[in-house]
Amino acid sequence: MDYTFQWGVAFRYLPDLLGGAWVTFHLTFIGFWTGLIIAVFLAVGQVYGGRGLQRAISAYVVFFTNTPSLVTAFFIFYGLPEVGIIWSPYVCVLVNLILNAAAFLTDVIRGGVASVRQAEMEAAETLGFSLLQKVHYVIVPHVAKVLYAPISNLYIVFILGSALAAIFGVEELTGTAFNIASDTFRTIEIYSLAAGIYVAMTIIASAILALVGHWAFRVKAKIF
């Protein structure tokens, strides 16, 4: 009554799993880095904006950082159609990812923005910098080096967390693994392979982030 692993069966489905991994990659890549751009402006707004803007941004951040991503995804996927808004499953999951990433990253970046010396901001003001120019030339160079490592770690967390997309009809890596495991019942083999692909994806992402960090910001990031 022993169970014999059939890895050959699992490897036959490797192309399908890699197809799912590709969806995982572009979903999290677009979602996270879009969220980061939004978060930079929200963090600036939270530090330098008026009281009303600060409160609005804080409310958004508190809501999304204290609500399971699964719940907000349910709201977008099943709630919005009740008011006539129907997006494709991919867009629903992407919007949810952006909203969550922006909220978490706003929290991370806010501290860095607040640490920018007032004198530098006043100098930029004197030179007539617009908000965009202040962000580009003063704030980002200052915070990038400090925040690069935590942001990179958060990116890895979001890659792994994107597995919830499977619940909403997006055929990413976990969803694809689920489908194949249901067809073949080779659940252990298929999920082991999927787990291996996730590990490979996160190692590759860590390596690329370390290289980019070193090249762009002189950050001494480690892959492991």
Binding site: D2, A166, F178, N179, F185
Partner: protein
């Protein structure tokens, strides 16, 4: 930290390769009888087949049927929640003695576990709305402008992929989600086991549902046991026959569904 995690993962994978086959032994019929408890895998959330009520009690057809099998064994039933993809690993790793969690029997799956004789049938039929126009058969829905919805881990998805190549297929999490996606206009219809899912249309009374309930295909759900556990499988076959031939089985079905099964299982005494 990440390095340690990676190394740990690699070690686990290496161990899996190295120790195959797994040495965990499924409990034989004698061992279950001696222990006095039988562990039955059921799905936690497909009412009225199996579910936990508000007080946490197990309810449903599979649960009642499992209790009757346990009674024949002379053992106390212990129900274990097994989601679709937990069914086989639970058997393989000896967490349960047999699985009743809506297991559709087919040859691909029989390479991995053993099945008893069928316990009940799954009958594919069509649920859609008036938005697709008047249809008379599932073939009318095989159009490239339509999206059909299926449930992740459920075999009708495979059937639609094979037989409705023109449609787009959306896969969601459960029967109620499938019906909701159609009601909301995200999908146009489904070919699925309507005995299980039709009741969810009651939640969407504003939708003009269109149901073609001629059975397209009948599949058979059976009890799954670990490969090679013949003593338990043979016992279950005998017990299933007794419950089906005395019509207890169909009475139980009507209790939970309020109607006889669309396609009855013919009791088989030749086990």
């Amino acid at each position: 930290m990440a390095k340690r995690i990676s190394l740990a993962f690699c070690a686990v994978l290496a161990a899996l390769f190295a120790v195959a086959p797994i040495q965990a032994e499924a409990r034989t019929l004698d061992e279950i009888i001696s222990d006095g408890t039988v562990r039955i895998g059921v799905h936690p959330n497909i009412p009225p087949l199996s579910y936990q009520d508000a007080s946490g009690e197990w309810q449903g057809f599979d649960v009642e049927f499992g209790r009757k099998l346990a009674e024949k064994l002379g053992a106390k039933p212990e129900f274990v929640a097994t989601e679709f993809n937990a069914r086989v690993p639970s058997l393989v790793s000896d967490l349960i003695d047999f699985s009743m969690a809506a297991l559709t029997r087919n040859s691909e799956r029989m390479k991995v576990i053993d099945f008893t004789f069928p316990v009940y049938t799954e009958n594919l039929a069509v649920l859609t709305t008036d938005k697709v126009g008047k249809i008379s058969t599932w073939k009318d829905l095989n159009r490239d402008d339509l999206t059909m919805v299926g449930c992740r881990g459920c075999y009708p998805v495979k059937w639609m992929e094979a037989n409705m190549p023109k449609v787009k297929i959306l896969i969601v999490d459960s029967g109620s989600d499938m019906v909701r996606t159609i009601a909301q206009g995200r999908a146009d219809g489904m070919v699925a086991n309507l005995e299980w899912h039709k009741r969810f249309t009651d939640n969407h009374t504003d939708v003009k549902w269109q149901i073609i309930d001629d059975v397209i295909r009948t599949a058979y759900c059976a009890i799954g046991v670990k490969k090679g556990n013949t003593s338990l499988r043979d016992f279950l076959n005998a017990a299933i026959y007794e419950l089906q031939s005395t019509d207890e089985h169909n009475a139980l079905w009507e209790k939970f569904w309020g109607a006889p099964p669309l396609a009855k299982v013919v009791p088989n005494p030749y086990w």
